[in-house]
Every structure is written in C-alpha cells, then in structure tokens.
C-alpha cells in the first residue's frame, strides 16, 4: 500500500471534515483553514483528480446555483479506500511520534 503524501492527507482530511458539503470552493476554503496557506485552484483540481484516479475519493454531480453561472457542483466523498488510507496515515503518524516528548525539539 502506498503511503499518502502530506498533501493528500490534508485533502482527505478536509473532505472528511466537510462531509456532505465537500465541493471545490469549500474544500479549498477548508484546506486554507487547516494549512494556513492559500492554495490555487490549479493545485486543487490536479490533486483531487489524482485522488479520484487512486480511488480514495468518489465524485457525485450536485445542484446548480445562480452564483455558479450554470455549472454543476461536483461533490467529493471519501471511499472505503480513502478512509483506510487515512487510518493508516494516522497510525503511522502516531507511531512515529510515540515516545518523543513535546519538549524534545524546543530550544
């Protein structure tokens, strides 16, 4: 099983957080919130596309709102695979940090 990159991890976590509301604009907002940086739509879609290809994420066509100029929303949701991958990532993280006290890297 391939390990998730930190970017993919952040994306999957953002999608999980948003649940039913996970579409482009919201995902980007969430990621910006989590990460504290501003990501481009270009990066957003490329990564989402990749996640879909990998099978971590499913897509579903959503409604059209006037603000969207007549375009569908596309909602993203985690697949079983995605959830498993997140779990593995979390386990890995926790295992990695186990036993390292918080003050270890303090100056």
């Amino acid at each position: 099983m391939k390990k998730l990159t930190i970017n993919e991890e952040i994306f999957l976590i953002a999608i999980w957080h948003l649940g039913e509301e996970a579409y482009g604009v919201n995902i980007r907002k969430k990621i910006n919130e989590l990460e504290g940086t501003n990501i481009l739509f270009g990066t957003l879609y490329n990564t989402l596309d990749y996640l879909v290809k990998k099978g971590y994420v499913n897509t579903r066509k959503g409604e059209i709102t006037p603000q969207r100029g007549g375009n569908n929303k596309v909602y993203y949701s985690l697949t079983e695979e995605g959830i498993k991958a997140l779990q593995r990532a979390r386990e890995l993280q926790e295992r990695l940090w186990e036993g390292i006290p918080e003050y270890a890297f303090r100056k």
Binding site: G42, D49, P66, Q67, G69, G70
Partner: protein
C-alpha cells in the same frame, strides 16, 4: 425572496478556463471559480474580484496543462504502440493503404504546388496590388483593338501629369536581337530596353552590381545568371562586354546595323517561372531617352507599367488617364479620324485575364507570353482532389473490410471499459499515423514526380516550394483531413455498435458494411474510369488533329528563318539560287511566314454595291514558288507566276477569303480588285486556293490573302524541299553552306512537320498528365479491390470449401465471388460515361475540328477497367478456389 446580485466574470478568462478543462467533472471548476468570484465581488468589490479571477486563471492553467500533458502522453504512447502493431500485423493491408494514400497525396502536393505557383503569378513584386500595366484602346476607321503596347511618349507625359504615380517604366522589346560574345553568337528573344525605374516596380534579386545604379548610363546592360553562364561561363560578369545587334538600331551613316558593345553593370538571379514579364537581357534605354522618340505619339512600341502611390484609387486613376492622348495628340487623332483611350490592368490579372492584340495588326501578338488558361487550373485541382479521394476510399474500404476483425477488438475494449471517445481517439490516431507515414512516403514521391511533372507541364516547380509556410499549412491540413476522412468510418461507425453484437462477429459482414464497401469500390472505379475516358478522348483528339489532312505538304520541308536580316533580304534571289543548285534540295521558296507560325492580320477594302466594306483577313507574303513547294491547290484562276506583273498587281486568296468577301464561287473572285487597307494598294485577285490549315486544328481556316510583294522586308523564312532519303546529309550540307555564306547569322533551321505539331503541345501535356493520373488511379483502385477481395475471400473460406465438396468447379467459384465486383465495375462505367461525355464535350468545344467521343472511346476505357478489375479480383479468388476443400473446411 432575497436575490443576490449576480455579476459576470471576465469572459476571456472563462474561455481559457473552459479550454483547459479535461473532463465533464472538471467543468465544475468553472462553477467553483464563479462562486468564489461572486463571493469576493460581494465582499471586496467587483474590481478586486476581477483581478482575483484573472490571476487565478492564469496561475492555474499552466498547472492544468502540465498535468494533462503528462497523462495524455501516456495514452498517446499506447495509441502509437497499438497502431504500429496493427500496421505491422497486416503488412499487405498497410502497404496498399500507404501506397494508395502516398500516391494520392504526392499527386495532390505536386498539383498544389502547380496551382499555387500559377495563382501567385506576378505576386512576388513588392506592393503588387499597386502595379498596373497601361493599355491602349484604339479605334481607327477600319476597326478597333486593345493593345498593351503604347507610345513611348506616354511614360514621360504621365510622370509629368500624375503625381499619384510612384514609379513608371516603359520597356521596349528588341525583336530579332543578335547577341555576340567572341565566337558565340545567337539570337535571343527576350531582350528589352528599359530604364532604372523598372527595378523599382518589378522585384529582381541582384547577384552583382549596384541595384540602384545599373541602367543610368547608355550602353549598359543587366543580364540574368543564366545568360552570364551562357556567354561568360561564370556568374560574375560584372564590367564585361557583350555585343547586341538590334536590326532596327541604325547609326548615322550606316546602311546595315552593327553589333553594339554593352557593358554589363548587373547580374540578377534567374526570374521565377510565374511572372509574365520574363527577360534575359535588359539594355539601357538611355540611347533614346530624351530623344524625339519619347515625344512621338504615333509609335506603339512600349509596354508601360506604373506603380501607384499608397492609397491611390486605381479606378479613379484609370478615369484620369483615359483621355491623356487628347491632351498631347488630340488634333492629329481627330485629323486621322481615330480615337485613343488608355486603360489599366492589374499586373496580377495579366496572366489569366488578359489576351490583348499587338499594337498594329502587323506586329506579333501583344502579350509578352501566351496567356494562362484558368480552365486547366480547375481541371488539375479537380484531378488532384479526385486522385486523393481514390486513395482515401482505399483506406476507408480496407478499414471497412477489416472491420470484422477490428469489431472484436472494439467489442472487447468496450467490455473492458473503454469509452467511445477513447476508441474514436484511438482509431483516428491510428489513421493519422498511417496518414503521416504516407505523407513521408508521399514527400519522397513528390521529389521523384516533380521533374517528370515539370517536363510534362513545362513548368519549373521546385521541391523547396513545399517548405513555404502556406504550403506547409496546407499539407498539415491535408494530413488531418485525410486522417479524419479515411479513418472516419471505423472511428465513428464501428465504435457505435453494442459490444455484445460486435463480439459475435456479425458486424462488417452485415448488409450495412458490405453496402458501404460496394459504394466505395464503385466510387473508386467511377473516378478512375472517368479519368481513363478523358485520357482516351484527349489522345484521340490529339491523334485526330495530327492526322488530319492539312491541305498542304509539311513533310521534308526545311525552314530557315532569317529574322529580318537586311543582307539576306536584299539578296533573296541569290539565296534561292545558292540552294537550288544543290542536288539534295528540289525546291526553294521565301515567304513572310510558314504554316504553324504567326500569321499577321490586316484589313482589305472591297467595293460592295454602293459603299466600300472592310474585312479583317490574315496576310502572307510569298513568292511564286510558294504554292509549288507546299503543294497548295489552286481551285480557280492561277497561282503567282514568274514573268507576269504579279509582284505589283496580284493577290491570291483562299476559299474562306473568297467567301468573306462576298463572292458566291471562287471563280467569281478571279479578276476582281481589292485594296489592302494600310498601304492602300489596290490589286487584282488572280487565283483562289483551296483552304489549307495554316494554323493548328484548334482553329477554323481563316480568310487568307497572299501577295507576291516586292518589299523585301516582308520576307523572313526560306523553305527548302528536301529529298526524303538523304535528309540528314542534306541538312548538314545546308547548314555548312549557310554558315559559309552568312558567317554572322546563326543557323536556326527546323523541320516544318515537327514545328507545326508544336501547336498541339498544350494538348499533348494534358494528355500525358491525365494519362499518368489515370494509370495511377487505376492502380490504386485495383490495389484496393485486391485488398477487399482478399478479405472477402478469407471470410468465405469455408463456403468455398463446402461448395467444392458439393461439386462446384473453380470457374463456378470465381464467378460467384467476382461477379459482384464485375457488376460494380459495369455500374461504374455506366455512371462515368455520361459524366465524362459531358465534360469532354465541353473541352472539345475549344477545337474547331474535333472528334465526338463515341463507342471506341468508351469501349477502350471500359475494356481497360473491366479487364484490369477482373484480373485483380481473380488472382485472389483463383488461389482460394484451388485450395483443398478439406483444408478450408477445417479452417477456423
């Protein structure tokens, strides 16, 4: 309900975004952009949002592109791999395909080169839209004509009077000019007098010499590379001397013009073949610049070109120059009862749309070169397109025939989950690859075909012409067009079927598939039979024209033109005697021209009831021996005879002239008096000849008036009748003798029969090109047929085996399979015969004496097509029919 104001995002940015979207899902990103944009424009204002939208678009798009490029090359590599695998698995199929397509494309490219070159006639000059030629419309009492030759006074007058003119140049043709350099002396036909301004109007590339200052001084000349190599053996002939003898250029105190030394001040690159003004040598016009010649309004010797200033309206300019002659020459015009108007012709129109007469009816034709025929441009374009079509049909046909195998592949791909769009892409990609391969092969073929085509069509097309941007663009378009057109059937039709049907293998063998197959085979044969019929017709017409009775004897006649040389002309009688003495020569005559060469026109006046009438006739001067030498039959009266007063007082006319002059019978004409309009000589008609074809069979025999003139300058040709059995010896002796008597005059003898047939050169070229095309077309069509038959035979293996077991003979089986195709070919013949008949009848209208395409024409074409196709089909079928039925039944 509360509705928020919706603002529109920047349009262009949205388009860019849309273009970068790869899948349907991704179109939602446009929605996302727009939603975000709306939020920002509510919160921060429209301007900020606008900036944001653009910035994000521009920053995101490269990322999209990079990503999709990475992904699509992966697919592309796969397509290419599969395409190449398919090509190499079906080698025969691919070869036929690539051969057909590459031949089609090569023909198309060659013809494209030709058409582009013809349509770009005179377009290489800078600002060619502003270059015009001045023409003259002259109405004189006996008639009117339009000519490109104007008086030398026109250019200086126009330069003075019209500030709209940026440059103006007059050029004067030096006819029968003799060029000499040491021992070498030759007649050159393309020598002109002109001034420096010529090079401001027409673009030439100077290799040596100062382009700004070449023709200013008297006795300087600019020559082409070819001339420099011919006379000096090297290109850089700058400062060297060449001698030119102009028969009209008499210096004071001389009785016979002498060669004049010209210093070469410029060497230019050879002119392209697509310019109407082709010259070899330009001699400085400084000799007559500013002399009385440039003030004379009654000569008509100069071609005059203007380049108008930017922004000048040509039609306004034309209106202003129309009456120019009246400002300077009005009194004289009125006195002579003449009218003279000037008009302009765009330089680019001259090649196809201008066929003006000479200045007076006595000079040679007015155009600098024979005009082009737009009809042949259309014909060649159509031919190029059609042969490419045959190649494409081959491709479609074979793809179609093979589709039964491909159908399984497609079905499987679909089952595995391929989308239709992917399959379409794959098939189109495959056909694009085959097209590209064919293009590569085609380009090699072009290189091979070009010299052949140049030779046939008398053109000078360069392979490098293909490298121009416009041509490259067209070739790229061609590849895409051919790829999509030829690969279209499997791509769009095959991929539409349901996978379960396809896997059963019933697609392609079904009715729909075989219908298309038949239609395509039919189409190919319709086109190639059409070509064959046209070729046969053209050849028949050509043979017909060459084989017609001309009414005069053209065999064993050696003609030596002597180009207005005064010495020869003065001693015509001596000259005749010189050759008459020699035993290989049985008869000698001198005349102004010989049949097949240019005949001048003139008017005659004749009394008619109450008034005089004028008629345009052809005019020829000859001596009393002319009728004897050419065996022209007199049907009334007598030919010219020695010892009578014929030199001053007689005309002999032909039947047509008798008719046009209103005589009911040739006998009635004898003894009547008519007047030649120019010199006002009134002479008696002493004889009427049977009509003979003094021009090619394209034309009806026109009225001809012959005079036994005492004016020696009218005579230009010496014709000798030679004894047939020692032609070559005699020619050699005549030549040596000529060089002995006239060391200064190049010998240019030719045989009349060969020269006369030169008039059919255009038709000969068409015949050769069409012949080549129809052979290629038939080959491609037959190869396609061969491929299709082999697929069908493979499909019917078992059927053939079973039939054989049940007692069918080889003949039966051949009939069974080939009958279908033979019927197709017969239908193709039925379709193409009326079409070809219609087209060829139109073409034949150009000829005064023509065949009517009949049973033989269609019979030959039909026979060729039928036997070829029967042969092709049966090679394959015969093999299949001879197989051991046990083997073929066990097959699969």
């Amino acid at each position: 309900m509360f509705i928020r104001k919706i603002s529109k995002p920047p349009f262009l940015a949205k388009i860019i975004l849309r273009l970068s979207a790869r899948t349907d899902d991704e179109l939602s990103l446009i929605g996302d952009f727009e939603e975000e944009y709306n939020r920002r424009s509510d919160e921060d204002g429209a301007f900020y949002a606008w900036i944001w939208y653009w910035l994000n678009t521009l920053l995101s798009v490269p990322k999209f592109l990079r990503y999709s490029l990475y992904r699509s090359t992966a697919m592309l590599r796969n397509y290419i791999k599969i395409a190449l695998r398919n090509i190499s698995r079906h080698k025969g199929f691919s070869l036929i395909n690539i051969f057909g397509l590459s031949v089609g494309m090569a023909c198309c490219m060659v013809i494209f080169l030709y058409v582009v070159s013809e349509l770009n006639y005179d377009k290489h000059h800078d600002g060619y839209e502003r270059i015009f030629r001045i023409g003259e419309h002259r109405i004189v009492p006996v008639g009117e004509f339009r000519s490109p030759l104007v008086s030398l006074a026109v250019a200086p007058a126009m330069q003075r009077d019209f500030p709209q003119i940026e440059y103006i140049a007059s050029i004067v043709h030096l006819s029968n000019g003799l060029v000499a350099k040491d021992e070498l002396q030759l007649y050159e036909d393309r020598i002109f007098y002109a001034g420096q301004s010529l090079f401001n109007i027409f673009k030439v590339d100077f290799l040596y010499g100062d382009p700004e200052n070449t023709l200013e001084r008297p006795l300087t000349a600019v020559i082409t590379r070819q001339m420099a190599e011919k006379y000096f053996g090297e290109v850089n002939a700058l400062g060297k001397i060449i001698q030119i003898k102009d028969p009209r250029f008499l210096r004071r105190g001389q009785s016979e013009p002498e060669p004049v030394d010209y210093e070469i001040t410029g060497i230019i690159e050879d002119l392209p073949s697509n310019t109407h003004f082709k010259f070899d040598i330009i001699a400085s016009d400084a000799v007559y610049r500013g002399t009385k010649y440039t003030e004379e309004w009654d000569n008509h010797s100069a071609y005059t070109y203007v380049k108008l200033r930017q922004g000048v309206d040509p039609s306004e300019f034309e209106e202003q120059i129309r009456m120019l002659a009246y400002k300077y020459y009005g009194d004289a015009l009125n006195r002579f009862g003449q009218k003279r108007y000037y008009f302009i012709q765009a330089v680019t129109d001259i090649h196809f749309h201008s066929n003006l007469q000479g200045a007076s009816l006595q000079t040679l034709q007015g155009e600098l070169e024979p005009p082009g025929n737009l009809m042949y441009i259309y014909v060649y374009s159509a031919v190029g397109f059609l042969i490419l079509l045959i190649g494409c049909m081959n491709f479609m046909n074979l793809s179609n025939a093979r589709s039964i195998y491909r159908a399984k592949e497609v079905g499987l791909r679909k089952v595995v989950g391929a989308k239709r769009s992917q399959l379409i892409r794959q098939f189109l990609g495959e056909s694009l690859i085959i097209t590209l391969l064919s293009l590569a092969a085609g380009i090699f073929l072009v290189q091979a075909l070009l010299p052949l085509f140049n030779q046939m069509a008398g053109t000078n097309l360069q392979f490098e012409g293909l490298l121009q941007p416009s041509v490259l663009f067209a070739v790229a378009g061609l590849v895409v067009f051919v790829g999509i057109f030829a690969g279209g059937y499997p791509a769009f039709v095959l991929t539409a079927f349901k996978p379960n049907i396809m896997l059963k293998g019933s697609v392609g063998a079904g009715n729909r598939g075989s219908m298309i197959l038949k239609i395509l085979v039919l189409g190919q044969f319709v086109i190639s039979i059409f070509f064959t019929i046209t070729t046969v017709t053209v050849y028949q017409q050509l043979n017909f024209m060459k084989g017609q009775k001309l009414g005069f004897e053209k065999n064993c006649k050696l003609v030596i033109p002597f180009r207005g040389n005064r010495n020869i002309r003065k001693n015509i009688e001596n000259l005749k005697n010189e050759f008459f003495e020699y035993s290989g020569v049985t008869d000698v005559t001198v005349s102004s021209t010989v049949p097949g060469r240019f005949v001048m026109t003139n008017w005659v006046r004749f009394p008619r009831e109450t008034a005089f009438e004028n008629r345009t006739v052809n005019f020829l001067a000859c001596d009393d021996n002319f009728f004897e030498v050419f065996r022209i039959e007199t049907i009334a009266g007598r030919p010219f005879q020695q010892g009578r007063n014929d030199k001053n007082d007689s005309f002999v006319i032909n039947e047509s002239a008798a008719k046009i002059l209103g005589f009911t019978s040739p006998h009635e004409a004898v003894g009547k008096r008519i007047t030649e309009a120019f010199s006002q000589h009134e002479k008696t008609i002493v004889g009427v000849t049977r009509d003979f074809h003094f021009r090619g069979m394209q034309n009806v025999v026109e009225p001809l008036v012959m005079e036994y003139s005492g004016l020696s300058f009218l005579y230009n040709n010496l014709s000798l009748t030679l004894i047939p059995d020692k032609l070559n010896d005699t020619v050699n002796i005549v030549k040596t003798k000529w060089e002995e008597i006239y060391p200064g005059i190049p010998y240019e003898g030719f045989f009349l029969d060969e020269d006369f047939d030169m008039q059919y050169r255009t038709e000969g070229q068409v015949a050769e090109i069409l012949g080549l095309i129809s052979i290629l077309g038939l080959i491609i069509a037959c190869l396609g047929l061969f491929g299709v038959t082999s697929f069908i035979v493979r499909q019917k293996y078992r059927e053939i085996g079973i039939r054989k077991v049940l007692g069918a003979t080889v003949i039966h089986i051949m009939k069974l399979i080939s009958a279908e195709f033979i019927i197709l070919v017969i239908i193709a013949i039925i379709i193409s015969v009326p079409a070809a008949y219609y087209v060829m009848n139109k073409w034949l209208q150009e000829f005064a004496y023509r065949i009517s395409p009949g049973i033989t024409t269609f019979g030959i074409a039909g026979f060729v097509a039928l036997s070829l196709s029967a042969f092709t089909v049966n090679i394959k079928v015969l093999r299949a029919a001879q197989f051991d039925p046990v083997e073929s039944i066990r097959h699969e």
